[in-house]
Symmetry: C2
Amino acid sequence: MNIYDVSEHAHVSIATVSRVINGNPNVSEKTRKRVLAVMDELGYTPNVFARSLGLNTMKTIGIMCADSSDPWLAEAVYFLEKQLRSSGYDSILCCSGYLPETKKKYLELLRSKRVDAIILAGSHYVEAREKDNAYLLEAAKDIPIMLVNGCLEGGQIYSTVCDDQAAVYSAAAKLYQSGRSALLYLYSGTSYSNLRKLSGYRQATAAASLPVRDELMVLCSKDPDLAMEQLKELSDSGIKFDSILAAEDILAVGAVKYANQTGISIPEGLSIIGYNNSILSRCTTPEITSVDNKVEALCTTTVNTLMKVLEGGNVPAKTTITPELIKRGTTNF
Amino acid sequence: MNIYDVSEHAHVSIATVSRVINGNPNVSEKTRKRVLAVMDELGYTPNVFARSLGLNTMKTIGIMCADSSDPWLAEAVYFLEKQLRSSGYDSILCCSGYLPETKKKYLELLRSKRVDAIILAGSHYVEAREKDNAYLLEAAKDIPIMLVNGCLEGGQIYSTVCDDQAAVYSAAAKLYQSGRSALLYLYSGTSYSNLRKLSGYRQATAAASLPVRDELMVLCSKDPDLAMEQLKELSDSGIKFDSILAAEDILAVGAVKYANQTGISIPEGLSIIGYNNSILSRCTTPEITSVDNKVEALCTTTVNTLMKVLEGGNVPAKTTITPELIKRGTTNF
DNA sequence: TTGTAGGCGTTATCAC
DNA sequence: GTGATAACGCCTACAA
């Protein structure tokens, strides 16, 4: 069942069938109808492989993320796929894990599939050391590379980021303004995004004329129970804190559990702010005040930018989205 | 940069280059090395489009799910993609939503991309009315259709399911054995899987010589707060219950919130069991006893079965995985 | 408005 | 072991 079968049955040439398929206006209404009828009758579908070969594109975008089961990344993948599909593109998903070697390997793999562009979702793709990002710059020579919540400069690289630093700064400032003075900062990694957040915490602390103390910046487990235990140990070791700002909701969940288990009242005895405004922030009692970093807006913007790039339009290399603090029961402002 | 360039530089025919690419043994070691060297030097990568055209396959599987941001489905997509990739297949993701028309539309769309098979993740693809599944049977005439946690009989349809009915039965039975007599069942939909679960609840209740009461089977919102409000209303309206079995963890979270807000002790005043053993079950205080329905095993099995099918092997049309009850703080057994 | 023919880059079937 | 050559199914000048 191919274009020749259709052309025979409709008594036209394959060129005419092709024109009908592609909506070329140079076909008489009568012919078009006949061809369409035959295609319908025969249940004909154009062969995408042949089409791809001729056009040298499959209208497919590669979506890479470290782990699509991570709640934030799962949402990102969802919105990206949705937006891409509504723009007429398919999505090839590729979970690369967190290791630099596998990231690189999978990027090459996607490239070898001749996708039209690659979207890197999440802040795990920009490494601190410049040379570790060289492979991205190299790939961007051939196809557009889109970063979702990561930032890198280079040829065809386009970044859409949420201003994490400003968000953390503002959240920390709010806690200080509400009378807190010992703000514990919990984080879980050292990606670009994490470093920016940490920097926001430092700046807000300094701006509040408070000392930036190393023991108040804690690398914390992403398991709520382990996080809780860690906080107990911290407290037992004599470190005092009256508020917690977490780089991810899951860490804030650990903080709520810590307070609940040790009988500390929230928010009076301990104020807590999470990050991502995920479903996790609404599963605890009380619910967690959290920074919404606008996954949907990030993803929609990324795809829209990409579409402009693919159309040959001129677009900015970096777009910044403003996050928003969602107030719930773990803060008293 | 194509096979002709390589053949020229290596002073061989394109046939030989092709043989080298495909690991055909009928090439002398000397020639193979020379060709490989040239390919490396030229940075040659075979064109997948041309290859697909010739072989009539792209080694790509379509993964459909209703909503890849749903935690359970997100995990499923993750494990499926991982396992497929390790088997040498790409994954085209397609989020179909929950509406029958769009599910059908997207399945057709995937088919038109000539994927080698389609995996339907989640229990939302098998409708109660037989005629609503006709399109799946139709599609299964052309390519293998794999159901993850759904069950349907027909040509090339292969189902891998977790025995939800038995799991719910066993969980309910445990609650009754521990002395509970008014078990409220919360569910959130009427998919195949949901109906099976409900049936498990009914059976366990009957087996415990208790009346199966309609007012104790409640269709519940997936928002934890709305669920909590619903439970309050239920209680206010005079309905008594001493335990809750939820068809999804998120509903159980609502139950925990309800107890916490109304001062009911857990598990003494109210025992709660969730379903899915998701991260949500570990975010509340106390943590939620939950049924683990083995997403990873489900997905790995599905892909392994698919690989056998694609190799032409003989495989069972249905595989059942046994779930497991993970005991935590919301039950006292 | 329609048809013809060449090209896209492989794989596979023959010969040699 | 190697090479020529015909598919694979479509798109697109160019011709008519």
